[in-house]
């Protein structure tokens, strides 16, 4: 079968487009952030960094590592926001389970007091049921943030800009929830019970 090779110029354009899309968190299911959230640094100056997303990997719904390369935007909050957006895009195969339904997006993100992340979600994040589903959704985001950014100690989850008492009728989301190492696969838990940031 004959294939047409792209011109060098077109290759650069395609590559830049793909990298931009990834940097904007527009993955398989995710929604691209607004222009204001997009990285402003020139593309060629962006560093790629390995991040770890924590998704359920089996029927026990314990979270396991899913490694991705992401651009480092040079702004801590933007890096965190991109991480959550990337998380909501879901894993690609590899036996991982996506706990959120399709079309869930990050509406807003900010950090309070330097250690409490506030994650504002949009989309059908409250559809479905079961403790396991709710635990995987909530701790998937919390533990992923804390795993990659050690100074994040807890996460407050909002839905459509509003405080919610619970997502699916079990977990108390009226207050920030701390990182929970018990949700991690035993093979990746650290002995000190802390997050994984700083390992890479």
């Amino acid at each position: 079968m004959k294939t047409r090779s792209l011109s060098p110029h077109l290759r650069i354009v395609v590559f830049a487009t793909v990298v931009l899309l990834l940097a904007a968190g527009c993955g398989r299911r995710g929604k691209a952030p607004s222009k204001e959230e997009a990285p402003t640094a020139p593309l060629q100056e962006q560093q790629q960094v390995q991040r770890i997303l924590l998704y359920p990997s089996g029927t026990d719904m314990l979270l396991n590592e899913y490694r991705v390369e992401m651009p480092e935007l040079g702004d801590r909050e933007k890096d965190m926001a991109e991480l959550v957006s990337r998380y909501l895009a879901g894993p690609a195969g590899d036996g991982m389970v996506m706990p959120f339904p399709e079309n869930c997006t990050l509406r807003a993100f900010f950090v309070l007091n330097g250690n409490q992340a506030v994650v504002d979600l949009a989309g059908p994040v409250r559809t479905g049921g079961g403790s396991d589903t709710e635990m995987a959704r909530v701790y998937g985001i919390i533990d992923t943030l804390a795993w990659n950014f050690a100074d994040i100690k807890s996460v407050r989850i909002l839905v459509d800009g509003q405080e919610v008492n619970t997502l699916l009728g079990h977990l108390d989301l009226s207050r920030p929830i701390p990182f929970e190492p018990g949700m991690l696969e035993p093979s990746i838990r650290r002995a000190d019970g802390g997050g994984g940031a700083g390992e890479f």
Binding site: D60, G130, S131, T133, M135, K153, D172
Partner: protein, 511 residues
């Protein structure tokens, strides 16, 4: 001028005896009951409120002690060292204690509270040590060397429960004589106590023999004594039972099984008062919570089966099993009705349940997920929330203040379960064991999570995820009445087993 007077009050607050403190006020001397526990001096806060023209009462809904003074409303927690003054959180040094009709406040905390109430710095001097020791007896020198054992007296209409808490109390000797029971400590002393109970089952509880002995004078209605020992902390619990009376009072609105009322046993919900079941033992009231309901369908399983329907079926079957064994069972809902999560816990608290069991069915994006898991409250989350409470208090002390409704809610409800987590864990493990043995479902183990429905429970509380609606095999089983009976039976057996372990967990020496 008013502030000056209040400051004078504080400075002249001087102990005169171990059992009373005199408070000099512009209107005269106010004598308050006082006592010493574990080296801390306590005053009767209820008397303090009344003496200073305030009012002390129990909140009609939450049951928490509330003091009204100088136009301020103070809500106390009796499980955490915090109080709320018009919604502003104050961290106390010691947890207020309810006993003998008093809300006991540590002397140091009393000064802090009065400072907040009157808006002036008030320091209260504790009783002089020499006076305390002189009152303790001729061998008072040894008192400081021997650990103290506290005695809590709880009185219900047909029973009196003594909770003795302190080092090695479970090795105390309990001797029943004609008309009295003597509890003798070795190497420890009881904290001073002389209480006229006067309920017919027990007449009086008092320490004697240098406070190494606790004497319980039995009343004419006394019939039987149960005792049990518990660890972490060491506790010896003595339950004196009478002839048995109908409880609770008519206003309690118990909804018995088989009724069609949509409202469970809560005040002000309009349910018709029903004949109260007879109390059969000191551990006998169980609240079962069928998860979800009404607008909240919960998980939808294979074939469209709904979690809210099956949890109700299982809860009714379990209630029937437990009632057949003499338990008083209250369902948070017995129809398909919407019920807020915190209201479910409130029903258990209001009815002074001994256990709270919330029944759920699981769901997972991984369709092959199967098995039972049982949750109790997350220590990690409650620890963090406690720290946040302390941080808020520190901010408030620094003048920033903190008075939103969330704080008050935190004090009133959210940390209640922390006092029962050891028992909750034991109950969760017992349930898992029974499910593994009886149903041979996949053992997903005991887990911890900050679940809304658990955190406000003032009794051992668990949430059971019986099986997965999203697993085709388990969904089919869950619709099978025979499997439902087995699942209810597993829960019933676990609860009975827990009751037996709770009442007889370790051997208590007998003479």
């Amino acid at each position: 001028m008013k502030r000056l007077l209040i400051m004078l009050i504080a400075v002249l607050f001087v102990a005169q005896a171990v059992s009373a403190l005199d408070l000099k006020t512009p209107k005269g001397t106010l004598t308050l009951a006082s006592r010493s526990w574990s080296g801390v001096e306590w005053v009767c806060g209820s008397q303090l409120a009344n003496g200073l023209g305030g009012r002390f009462a129990k909140d009609s809904v939450s049951g928490y002690p509330v003091m009204s003074m100088n136009g301020r409303r103070v809500v106390f927690s009796t499980t955490s060292a915090v109080a709320s003054v018009d919604g502003k959180i104050l961290k106390l040094k010691h947890v207020p204690q309810e006993e003998s009709g008093c809300l006991w406040l540590a002397v140091g905390d009393t000064g802090k509270l009065l400072s907040e109430i009157y808006g002036a710095r008030i320091a209260i001097e504790p009783p002089r040590k020499s006076q305390v020791q002189a009152e303790a007896g001729s061998d008072g020198d040894k008192e400081g060397q021997e650990p103290a054992v506290s005695v809590d007296v709880a009185v219900s209409s047909d029973a009196v429960r003594l909770t003795l808490t302190g080092p090695a109390v479970t090795s105390a000797t309990v001797r029943q004589r004609s008309g009295s029971v003597m509890v003798t400590l070795s190497g420890a002393r009881f904290e001073p106590l002389s209480q006229d109970v006067g309920k017919g089952v027990v007449e009086e509880v008092a320490t004697e023999s240098g406070r190494h002995v606790l004497r319980v004078n039995l009343g004419t209605r006394f019939r039987h004594m149960d005792r049990l020992g518990l660890r972490n902390p060491d506790r010896l619990i003595l339950i004196f039972k009478g002839e048995g009376q109908t409880v609770p009072p008519p206003s309690l609105e118990v909804v018995p099984q088989g009724t069609t009322s949509e409202t469970p046993a809560m005040p002000g919900r309009g349910a018709s008062p029903q004949a109260a079941p007879r109390r059969t033992s000191a551990f006998d009231v169980i609240v079962i919570d069928p998860g979800h309901g009404g607008n909240d369908t919960g998980a939808i399983g294979v074939g469209g089966i709904r979690e809210k329907d099956l949890t109700l079926v299982l809860a009714k079957k379990l209630a029937s099993d437990l009632e057949a064994q003499g338990f008083k069972v209250i369902l948070t809902r017995n129809t398909d009705t919407t019920l807020p999560l915190m209201e479910r816990t409130a029903i258990a608290n209001y009815n002074k349940a001994d256990l709270f069991v919330s029944i759920h069915l699981n769901a997972s994006p991984a369709r092959s997920a199967r098995g039972t898991e049982t949750y109790f409250m997350s220590r990690r989350a409650t620890d963090q929330w406690s720290r946040q409470l302390a941080d808020k208090e520190n901010a408030a002390t620094g003048g920033a203040g903190s008075s939103d409704g969330q704080d008050l809610k935190l004090v009133l409800w959210d940390l209640a379960q922390t006092a029962h987590m050891v028992e909750s864990q034991a109950l969760a493990e017992t349930i898992q064991k029974e499910f593994n043995q009886l149903l041979n479902t996949g053992d997903r183990g005991v887990r911890q999570a900050p679940f809304v429905v658990l955190e406000g429970a003032q009794m051992p509380a668990v949430l059971v995820e019986v099986a997965f609606l999203t697993n085709p095999t388990e969904a089919k089983q869950l619709e099978d009445p025979a499997f439902q009976d087995q699942a209810a039976n597993a829960l019933d057996k676990a609860i009975v087993d827990f009751k037996n372990r709770y009442e007889n967990p370790i051997a208590v020496p007998t003479p």
